[in-house]
Every structure is written in structure tokens, then in C-alpha cells.
Symmetry: C2
Amino acid sequence: MAKDNKKLVQSITSREEDFAQWYTDVVREAELCDYSSVKGCLNYLPNGYAIWENIQADLDKRFKETGVENVYLPMLIPENLLQKEADHVEGFAPEVAWVTHGGMERLQERLCIRPTSETLFCELWSRTVQSYRDLPKVWNQWNSVLRWEKTTRPFLRSREFLWQEGHTIHATYEEAEERTLMMWKVYRDFISESLAIPFVAGRKTESEKFAGAQDTYTVEALMHDGKALQAATSHFFGNGFPDAYDIKYLDKNNELHSVYETSWGLSTRIIGAIIMVHGDDSGLVLPPRIAPKQVRVIPVAQHKEGVLDRSEELLAAIRAEGLRADIDESEKSPGWKFSEQEMLGIPVRVELGPKDIENGQAVLVRRDTREKTVVSIDDVPAVLKELLETVQQDMYDRAKAFLDSHIDEAQTMDEMKAKFTDNRGFIKAMWCGDESCEEMIKTETGGAGSRCLIEDEEPISDRCVCCGKPAKYKVFWGKAY
Amino acid sequence: MAKDNKKLVQSITSREEDFAQWYTDVVREAELCDYSSVKGCLNYLPNGYAIWENIQADLDKRFKETGVENVYLPMLIPENLLQKEADHVEGFAPEVAWVTHGGMERLQERLCIRPTSETLFCELWSRTVQSYRDLPKVWNQWNSVLRWEKTTRPFLRSREFLWQEGHTIHATYEEAEERTLMMWKVYRDFISESLAIPFVAGRKTESEKFAGAQDTYTVEALMHDGKALQAATSHFFGNGFPDAYDIKYLDKNNELHSVYETSWGLSTRIIGAIIMVHGDDSGLVLPPRIAPKQVRVIPVAQHKEGVLDRSEELLAAIRAEGLRADIDESEKSPGWKFSEQEMLGIPVRVELGPKDIENGQAVLVRRDTREKTVVSIDDVPAVLKELLETVQQDMYDRAKAFLDSHIDEAQTMDEMKAKFTDNRGFIKAMWCGDESCEEMIKTETGGAGSRCLIEDEEPISDRCVCCGKPAKYKVFWGKAY
């Protein structure tokens, strides 16, 4: 009831006025998720979870095309197992939740709820991998993990979150490295093609890589407020991790060898990126490939004879084309229905009123540009199919233009500080490789850290932007979620 | 290496000799799952998890056709929330795991890992449902739950297990009751059509229903050893549960009402049922509709020229028909490959050797009956498609004949006791409705409990089989997993 009287669009803050509040408002009004009775844990509501389901279906297909098999390992990890790899336990132990009682009994050993599952995969493989015939293992699971975060935000940081975590082991260093890079490419393809999100991508610095990894490769997207978001990562472990868990195999000559490991993940954070890259002051704007509904039919003056019947016929024809479509036959006003469709980010709406029917036409309205096209009713399904492809491509192109216009470079700290005030985004600058400079840059710029190394471009200069000593790396710097 | 020398089929116990050991052997040799480092928690391995993925895809589609929306609610439940509904907390509190520490801090209130999520759904709805416009909610989640079981067996009983739990609320008693029965039917259709498993089905007695429910409807399948397995349940809560959590809505006249609730679930136990209904002394026998691989091509004398090429062409043609197929090109002997395909329960294998190629034919061998058919190579894909349908139907028919031959009735306790010794399965007998008789029957028969009420048949007599007092119900009795 309240819902029918309030003004939907006015209920969200404008993006330019207060980006953080805009984000919160969109998540709430589009009913994507809300907080539960456990601090920092989310309820993923139907509108939000349906996006995740489409992400899962698309990405899982890409995984399987590269030979990935899905599994499910337990949510609980014994304390002694977590502690076997030193860097890893140091990275995760401070932020795990501990189970101390099962039923009425106190447990002899504490169990933590998995913050990530490298330890469990390694334990399993240490028992089951013996021969070169058992390799490689290329496994993935879709699950939830829990990290006891202090501050949380919907999708971006919550204590429990959904993700996929892939884990693989291989007989050789080269094969594991190849898999690390292959999955990094799968993520880049998925994020650009299916989510219409452009990015910069590269290797992480020592201080930013995953706890226990030898190398971490990241995909860094740029949000509309100029802050970066780590969208996916692929880690190469070498043999350090599997050696700590004593995973060895016998080769054809009966000689014992180490195995080489990778892991890679993408989480529900990516829904935050979709919102913050594409959304606008009317709400969500969803890329057609992962939108739960791609088309909504909205009858106008639906009380008039024939309007609802013709609208339903049209809906059936659109669905027959293989598009995900629904219809809003509620008693709300057309204007109200348009606002709701816009808030939900449904890529195209089809308006159909008595005059349209008289003229044998319908009006298609794009969510991203609000552009209207009048189309002969019979042509609607075919036109929609093409239009959705166009919308998908245009959304990527617009986001790419935004990203490109928010990449800059700096030769000095003064330049760097000034650019992070005026023009947020990614700044390219040289770095000596010392963590103290990395820290200093973060402090001086009010939070811009190293996002990733740039390994395929000419250096800007031969000096570190911070200390002036010889530069080793060219780096993307940026503030981040 | 060990694997190449051992005799695969001899590595499993025969079903008649020791059914429990046969089950354990099949689970291990088919590499479906194994125990993890946490007592009673399973690692679901690729062969086992792939069955679950197919179950999910099939059942989820059926759910969505009835209007179900998927969500994801947190894995943790605050202690005070669990305690709001008296019967429910009494049923679950003794078997939950408790989180007492988050990060480095002791929590002010203990959190349990969900054993089931009625409480979380009710908490969410108590905050978000206000008007008749907010109803119904027809939600489901695919997740894992944890119950601190003392004795565990792969798939059948483990501390953490995978399932789906559907939860709905409705404006009226009738609508909620209709949904309870609708989902019960969805399960029955799925279990018979897709899993080829026949069953008896009905309402549970008071003592056997879900903690907090008003009515529980169950699907009870019969395993090859004559024991029943509860394959799925659908619960009707009335308004007791939602009232305890204070979920109310205003109708069109602004009057406040209770809502009516249902929940319904199916878990990875069902994989145990698939094994124990269809499996034989050579291993798994999977119904084609949910088999991860439906067809395996096995080249014979593959070192001979053209065999591998022709086999791969055939595989491509089979896949083009939309069938899930793979090929075994390893260097093992054909006999060994046949044993492996049989162990994994792949419904049909296609044998192709030099002579077959010469004659333009291939040999199709059904896993369920071992029946061989010689088919022209070009016809293989089309013949396979039909053959898989036949296998699916025959598997159901055989299991149905087994079930029918294991249903009997009893008029007296002596008869009942004798029949549960000689001929295990379901026994129909009359019952007065007293829990003491229900208990007594269980004790006297060595464990046969009430599986479900029979409400659409004539009574056998007017006296309780146990106490001889007037009978109220006709009941299926059986020993169960």
C-alpha cells in the first residue's frame, strides 16, 4: 500500500549527490538483498539471486568447456588443517568464525567455517593422489564462505558471501601456470562479454596477492565513482602449498614429485560491480545477457477491450523467440509500471496501448538510453532479439569510454596526489618495488593502492614516483572497494 | 598403477552377501564421495556431484514452472531466533553446531549453523510482509545444512548435506494447503519420471512429522534390501509457525490476518536411493535422464588404423543428437574399460572395433540388462536416443515390480513379525492412532515404523493390529534408512 503512494524514482538519491547512498537505495528499491538477523550476513532476495543464477549458468558453462569438474567439499575446517601453510593461516585466521560445540558436546578441536577451501582440497588430494595417472585435478565448487569482516556493505563486503572457488593441481609448473592464465582469461572474457564491464588486468604486487600464493592475476573494473573493484582473481601457488600438505605423485619411472597448484574465484561482489558500472539515477541497468528478465511487456489503458489479450499474445511471441520476458498486468498506472521496470533494470520494455493495436504497432523503449522505436507488432520478437544485442554492445562501449577517460599517468607524487583529487580512476606510475613506497603512496593519495602491474607497456620514466630510486615496475594505482 | 592391476568387479562385495558393504564399495569404487577430515562430513567428488547437478537442473525447472523463485539466506541462526517456535527448537537444538567465536572475539550470542531455515525465512518475512500485495511468497534455496549426527553413512546420513528447501507463505489456509500438495506432486513426478524410482506416498503420523509442522506428506521409496528411504517431504505448517514469528498482513479492508506456511525439501540422500534401487553387483546403474554421461564410446583394438578416428566421429555424431557422451581412449584393455563403464553406471556403451568398422556397424550394450544390439554406424545416434528412453522406462518398470512384490498386509502382530522376518518391504496394517502402539510395533518387528498413512483404500479390519482396539488408520509400516 505504502508502495503505491510513494514516488519510486524520488525514493533514490541521485548518483552525483551521494554515490554510496545511491548504491544502498538501488539495492533496497530493486529488492536485490537485505541484511539478516545476523550482523553482516545478507538475505539474497529473488531479484538479486536471479542475477547470480544467470552468472553461475554462464560462467559454469565456460569453466566446463575448459575441462573443469564440479565438486562440493565441507564447510568446516579443523584448526590444525588450517594451520599447515604459514602465510595462509596468517592471512585468514584473524577473520574466521569458530565452531566449538556440536549438539550438546564441546568439541575436542575447534572447527572454522571455511573462509576459502585450499586447505580442504589439499587434504583430500594428499590422501587420494598417488600417481601421474591421477593428475591433473581441475575442480571447482559453487558455495558460500564466511569471513568475520568488521564493516560490511551489500554484495561488496559481507561476512558470508557466495562465490565459486576453482582448485587445480598439475604434474608440472608449466601446466599449472597455463591453467592460472587460462582461468584469468575465462574471467576476462566473461566479464567483458556477458557483463559488459571493461577493466584493466594484470599481476598483483607482493603485498596485494592472495595469502600463500606465488602470483595473483586480477581483473580490476572501474565503478562510476572512479573507484576500482577487484572483479575476479586467479592464483598460482607453485608447489609451496601442496608441499606443505604433502601431496606427491609417482611418475612413469616411479620417481616422487611435487605437484603444482592453482585456485581462482569470482564472488557475488560482481553484482555490486554490475550495479555501480551500469546503474543510473532511475535504478539498475542490467546487461541483457545476465538480466533475469530481458523484456517486460507493459499494456497501456489495459481496461480497454483487447489490450490485455493482444499483450499476452505478444508476450508469447517474444518468449517463443527464446527471450526471457514477463508482463506487468497489475492495476498500477503505466507511468508507475515504467518506473518499476526502470528500477529493476529490465533492458527493454514493450508498450502496447489501444492506438498501437489500431496501428498494428508497439513501442520499444531501451532502458540504457531511453530511446524509443515504433515497430510493427509482428516484427517485435525479431527486432527485440537484435536490439538486446545492440544494448549489450552499447553498454560495454559506454563503460569502456568511461574507463578510458579515467586512466591517466603521473611522473611525480604531486601530480599523483592532484590527479587522485580531480580525476579519480586509474593512474599509471612507476614504482621501485619497495612496500614502503607502496604504503606511502596509499597514505599520500588518501587510499590509492597498487591495483596491478602493467607488464606490456613502455616505462613512463626510470624512477619510482615516490622515492625517486630506480623503478622496477609500471603500476596501475587506484582507490578501491 | 594399483588401479590397473586390481580386478575392478571383484573389488565390490556382492549385493546378496552383504548389502551394506556392497553399498559402501560402490560409493568408493565409483568415486562418488568420501569422508573428509571432519568426522561425518563428506567430500562430494566429481562423479557424485555431477549426479546432484543433474538432479538440481531437472527439479529446479519443475519448481520454476510452478512459480517458485530462488533465494539464498544466511547459514547462521542466532540462538534466540531458533527458540521462537517450541516444537521446532525441541526437534533441532540437540543436533546443531554452535559458533561461539568470530575472528578473535567471543560472540555475545551463540549462532548455530542452520539445520533447516524455517526460522530465517520467518524472521525475514516478519520484517518485510505487511500487505496482501506482498503475498504469496514462494521461495526456494539450494544450500547445505548441518546436523550433528552420531552415526553417518555416505549420502544417507551425514553431518553436512546438500539439499533444497522451499518455503512459502500464503494469505489463506487453502492456498497453503494446495501448495503443500502441489510440491508433493512435483516430487512424486520427478522421482518416478526422472529417477525411475517407484514409491508409496502419504501423510506422516503425528510422531513422524516434521518438528513444528501440522502435516507432513512423504514419498517413501523401497531399496533393494527391503528397507524404505524417505525420498522427499512436503510440510504444511498452518499458521502456528508464522504466528510465533509474528508475520501478519493487512487485507483490502485493512484488517490484520495470519499467514499460512509450507516448506518442502529433497536432499542428497536421494543419491543413496538411486544407488540402492538400481545398482547391481557390477556397480551403479544410473537412469539415463540424470546420468552425467548417458553413453560411452569404447574403441576395441584401438591401435589398429582408423579405429580411434572412426570412434571420435561416432562420438561427435552422438553428441550432435544432444546426448551426453564421452569416449574411453585410455590404454586399458577393452574388458577393463567395460568394467569401469559398468561400475559408473553409464546407461549404454558403444563398442567399435576394426571388424565393426569393416561391416559398417557398432555394438550397443545396455548397462541395465547387458542386452547387445548390433546397429548400422549411421543409425547409432538415433537408435541410442530411443534406447535411452526404453532403458529409463524399463528401469522404472523393474523397480515397480520389485516394490509391488514387497508390499503385503497383516491382520495380527504375529503375522506382522513373521512378514518382517521373511519378506521385508512395506506391510499394510490397521492402527488405533496411539503412539504407544506405534512404538510397540517398532520394537516387536525389530524396527518397522509407520512410513505413512494410507487414506484412499478400504480398511483391512476395524481393529488395531497391535492392541485390538478400534482402528483409526491404515498404515504402511516398514524398516527404514
